[in-house]
Symmetry: C2
Amino acid sequence: MLKENSETVQAVMADIGERAKAAAIDLRKTSAEQKDRALNEMADAIWNKRADLLAANAIDVKCGRETGLSTAFLDRLTLDEGRIRAMTDGLREIAKMDDPVGTVIAEWERPNGLKIERVRTPLGVIGVIFESRPNVTADAGALCLKSGNAVILRGGSDSFHSSRAIHGCLSEGLSAAGLSEDSIQIVPTTDRAAVGEMLKGLNGAIDVIVPRGGKGLVGRVQSDARVPVFSHLEGICHVYVDKSANVGMATQIVCNAKLRRTGICGSAETLLIDRAGASTLLNPIVEALKNAGCEVRGDAEIQESVSGVIPVEEEDWYTEYLDAIISVKLVDGVSAAASHIAKYGSGHTESIVAEDEAVVESFFAEVDSAILLHNASTQFADGGEFGMGAEIGIATGKMHARGPVGIEQLTSFKYRVRGTGQIRP
Amino acid sequence: MLKENSETVQAVMADIGERAKAAAIDLRKTSAEQKDRALNEMADAIWNKRADLLAANAIDVKCGRETGLSTAFLDRLTLDEGRIRAMTDGLREIAKMDDPVGTVIAEWERPNGLKIERVRTPLGVIGVIFESRPNVTADAGALCLKSGNAVILRGGSDSFHSSRAIHGCLSEGLSAAGLSEDSIQIVPTTDRAAVGEMLKGLNGAIDVIVPRGGKGLVGRVQSDARVPVFSHLEGICHVYVDKSANVGMATQIVCNAKLRRTGICGSAETLLIDRAGASTLLNPIVEALKNAGCEVRGDAEIQESVSGVIPVEEEDWYTEYLDAIISVKLVDGVSAAASHIAKYGSGHTESIVAEDEAVVESFFAEVDSAILLHNASTQFADGGEFGMGAEIGIATGKMHARGPVGIEQLTSFKYRVRGTGQIRP
């Protein structure tokens, strides 16, 4: 580990930035075959060195236990053979995907004969700042390489040894395929000043930052970064059940949206029920939630209709519980639901359960979140579920990337214009 | 005009931001017909009030003369009936274009039956900061409205009366079509603090800033803005003439690229000639430039081959002359040209003149600028010439919008997912 001295950190980070920029120029010209070969070599290296990875991970887990990390945190941190296998499967899947670079997104011809093509290019250098999950090292490294970008990874101090061990295997794979090891670099220090340097962009080297972690990390990145950021601060996802909904379907979708996994950003936090349908919808849905072990919070109106409901506070509507808790409210139809979502939501993912198509179209038009679903669970908010193969994260900004950020979203584009001697009159 | 007091300015700007945000929510649901009606009503209002516009403009021009503005600046500032007609023609053209909002950009179905659509949505609120040209008021206002965005316009103090008069006509058009006048607002003060407030984003109200003006303005916006910016700092455009080029075509393209209009961002500043073809290419091209009144700068090698060449300094390669001056250099083939462009260019627009297709493909692959042309003049770097109808500017950033920024680039997107009760396993 480096001597933790801010001048040293600055110099080390500037050097990492320069090397990433040079690697990015080479990657722009690298063939799909070579990138895919590197990805498969990385998977081989990880599998062959799984004993070393488990040993490195054991050091992190032991430190984590000693410093009193939570069980959930330790679970995210811990590797086992199954998780290592999942990592290598992920790398091989990404290798099989189509290369986005060079794809012609649009083409047209002008009356003067100029042929214009809009073609995908890599973004350049991606900075990924993550916390506990060591597998992000492999996932993010692979997605960036596949999309032709160089990447600078900065993992959390708790997963320092695990991430470094995985990174070693990625370097091996790059080398074996004849690619520069600077294509995927990992910050060799846990000094927080390194993050500050990345947020300033390393003298223009970093094109975009992707933070992967809790609200604290993402909030800091969003407020301090001087380069574009692909991120979501939180996922306060809503399910709106319209009076035209099928009660059985609504119950299934709400329970799945809330409870399938409560700790992910696509889990529902608030249930909005159409007042005009409350007499048939409210009881069965809330009872099903309670029976599945979910705490239900609601105002006086909800408490009068169903037993065992805990009083809701204004604060609840703004809260991403990440737990088996849901807040419930009656609203006057789809427009009132849209207003509630606009006020309290985080622009991530919302679902409507309804049979009335006109109501669905209103929902789709009035709600401005990255992902809107009809008659489906909010837990589908995921790049894999969208068929993008894998995602580096989910973005709620409106610029460039929105929703799941897969390899396509990690590209930019340029124009190729072919003429036959045209000059402008 | 407002009392120019920073607290007042802050309050006024915050109010403008809030009203723009509210207008943007309404615009999301506004039909194409209503927006187009407003655009045509604006054109009518401008034409009917052309006498008032000319009177307001005369005040600005008189002030400008008195304060000693340059002839070029006064020319950009001055309106006449022809320019007013061009403005109204522009508005009617934009009205005729297809509405980008609601367009399905991509759609696919998942094995579980979920139907996913990526659909264009407005970005929200655009801030446009411009200098002397009063017609930007109408152009930018119209492009933002067409793409469903609210806009906050901040014109230069020199065109204050002209811009306000044009803005009055835009408000009339919005009203006549039943749209909120807050859809297109103009900052009612020339206090520079207003620009500072816009760059901070007006409490999250502004989604993107578009600066229109010289390098000083754009540089300030790029360095100080805390929101995304669509812009280019300068257009240091290159023409590379390969040994395989047709001499006649190369001469025509170079002269057009440099001299058709020297003051626009797409005019060429540097000519790179393949050393292997210099004996046949250099003389005719440089002589043609000189005969057309262009000053030619080159190093000793160039000066030995052609007469009347002025010595070039290192600084020249970084310079956007915006004048009838060109710097010329011999390079060893397309890769050396690409390296020169990477070092000195601004990522805007570059052209290659060549008959050898393999060389052209290398150029397209190795050069990472927004617009690359083959056998065509760099002066085609323009949204209108690209068939986008009109542009609000040209962007050299890699995020979201790159190259000409037309109405499509002023949109974001969201996902609409249609299910039949799917829950995630």
